[in-house]
Amino acid sequence: MKDAKEYTLYNETVMDHFMNPRNMGDFQDADGIGEVGAAACGDIMKISLKIKDGVVTDARFKTFGCGSAIASSSMATELIKGRTLEEVKNFSNEEVVEALGGLPPVKIHCSVLAEEALKAAIEDYEAREVSKPAEKSEALSA
């Protein structure tokens, strides 16, 4: 029998991302912010992105939720750094699950929430782009 201390609810990778979350926080000047909630479990996830030249240059998260929700958002923000907007739009929760080395079946929805938060952040970014054509061309012409 192994000592009780050696047991954790989730696998090593998930526990690591829960205990030492990557990219936790916000940006002063995010380019896109997505905040989504899961009615089923009450989790709320917020992902903030820095985007430059159609590429995600940085990502941060804040999560109200269980261990696997926190780990999922940590992993998701890790994964999408450096990806193009097009790539992020095709991002699937399955990538998070795989990178985390698996999640318990009842917790798969946490990775879905991360996908949704990401996509909401991209939508937010794109909505902002549309609403500030002036600024944008100014910046381009500068």
Binding site: M24, G37, A39, I44, K62
Partner: protein, 421 residues
């Protein structure tokens, strides 16, 4: 690192005295209690002793009123379904409190599929039932009233004496699930006027693998495990002899040490309660405050702006074992029906954890828990968009409202696109 086990409402370690008494029944006194030879008679004698010890714990009229089952849930099922089966000709309606354990609710729902109906009596904000409401719920069809002695999640102690005055007047047996309270609260079935009562010895330092149904001779139950004459024909199959022996010893010691255990544990309960409240902002105790209306060993907290499982996991990584929601249903994502029944705000129900104390916890344990729990909360709040939005004035606190911002529940509904359940 310190290890602090604060989940005694999930299970307790077996008493060394109980294990010692059990040990010969594994390899030496291994007979089947149904056998007529000395190996059978020897274990039969051991079981008889245990039956008397358990009867004494709850002051049952006779050891014959004690039926041993395989666990607390089976005892509850036998109490409700076995009683209903034996008495369905008298009526098909059951009255129960809204905060009963899932095994009570599940048994009653099963009976519903067999043509029974039931009335759930609500509880107040502290989780306590109003005896007058029990009286109102009783119909001429009612054959059983089920109200637990104390709630497993929020520790609310129910007014059993007042309720049994009503059930006695109406001539209806009263079933009290004492799984959460036995060993932590004095129980005298005769003085309390209880006809059916269930215990789970692993909750008071006895072994797993055995449950207890007390039923007075006035409350008939029929077996729901068929096929043998064991336990007076009320539960077929080979008895779990070692566990029954251990349950007897645990019951005897629980009775002997009851006052001492209660005194010790409630001192720690007060200390933990006061320490938590003093050091952690936006935290709320669910259920009655420590004192006569609350079970001495359990504290149920809602920590605002963060969620329960994360608290549990970070506590665990600090060597502190706590529960999140009802330990028996922790695989479920849903908010505990107990918290729903006391009308707890959705935001607070999410951040729920339960600490339940035991006889071996110390003052140092409590100091450690208070110190570490504050860190746990701070870590999770730093990660929580809710905390930030609260600090920004976007959402308001439920526990200590400032009158600015919308509610968490509203916010959650907004971001999820659906109302919170």
């Amino acid at each position: 690192m310190r290890s602090v086990y604060l989940d005694h409402q999930a299970s307790t370690p077996l008493l060394p005295e109980a294990l010692e008494a059990m040990t010969p029944y594994f390899t030496q006194a291994f007979g089947n209690a149904s056998s007529l030879h000395r190996y059978g008679l020897q274990v039969r004698d051991g079981i008889a002793t245990a039956r008397a010890q358990v009867a004494a714990l709850i002051n049952a009229e006779s050891p014959d009123d004690i039926i041993f089952t395989g666990n607390g849930a089976e005892a509850v099922n036998l109490a409700i379904k076995g009683f209903a089966d034996a008495n369905h000709r008298k009526g098909k309606h059951i009255v129960l409190s809204a905060t009963e354990h899932p095994t009570v609710l599940g048994s009653v729902e099963y009976l519903e599929r067999q043509g029974f109906t039931h009335t759930k009596v609500p509880v107040d904000k502290e989780g306590i039932i109003d005896p007058a409401a029990v009286r109102e719920a009783i119909t001429p069809e009612t054959i059983l009233v089920a109200v637990h002695i104390a709630n497993h999640d929020i520790g609310a102690i129910q007014p059993i004496k007042e309720i049994s005055a009503i059930t006695r007047e109406k001539g209806i047996p009263l079933f009290c699930d004492a799984v959460a309270s036995a060993g932590w609260y004095p129980i005298d079935v005769q003085a309390l006027g209880i006809q059916l009562l269930t215990l789970s010895p692993h909750r008071f330092y006895g072994p797993k693998g055995v449950g207890v149904l007390y039923r007075s001779r006035r409350a008939r139950v029929t077996s729901h495990i068929h096929g043998g004459v064991q336990e007076g024909g009320r539960r077929a199959g080979t008895e779990n002899v070692p566990a029954i022996i251990g349950a007897g010893v645990a019951a005897e010691i629980a009775l002997r040490d009851l006052n001492e255990r209660i005194a010790h544990v409630s001192r720690l309960q007060h200390k933990l309660h006061d320490g938590m409240v003093a050091s952690i902002p936006y935290i709320k105790l669910n259920g009655p405050k420590p004192g006569p209306l609350r079970l001495c060993n359990t504290l149920n907290w809602s920590t605002e702006f963060i969620e329960g499982e994360g608290q549990l996991l970070l506590c665990d990584s600090n060597g502190i074992a706590v529960a999140s929601g009802s330990s028996c249903v922790s695989k479920s994502l849903k908010v505990s029906h107990v918290l729903e029944a006391i009308g707890l705000d959705h935001a607070l129900a999410q951040g729920n954890i339960i600490m339940s104390l035991g006889k071996d916890n110390t003052e140092e344990d409590i100091d450690y828990v208070i110190e570490r729990f504050l860190k746990v909360v701070n870590t999770l709040r730093r990660m929580s968009p809710m905390w930030q939005e609260f600090e920004d004035g976007q959402i308001d606190s439920v526990i200590n409202p400032r009158g600015i911002g919308k509610s968490f529940t509203q916010h959650a509904a907004d971001v999820s696109g659906r109302p919170a359940h």
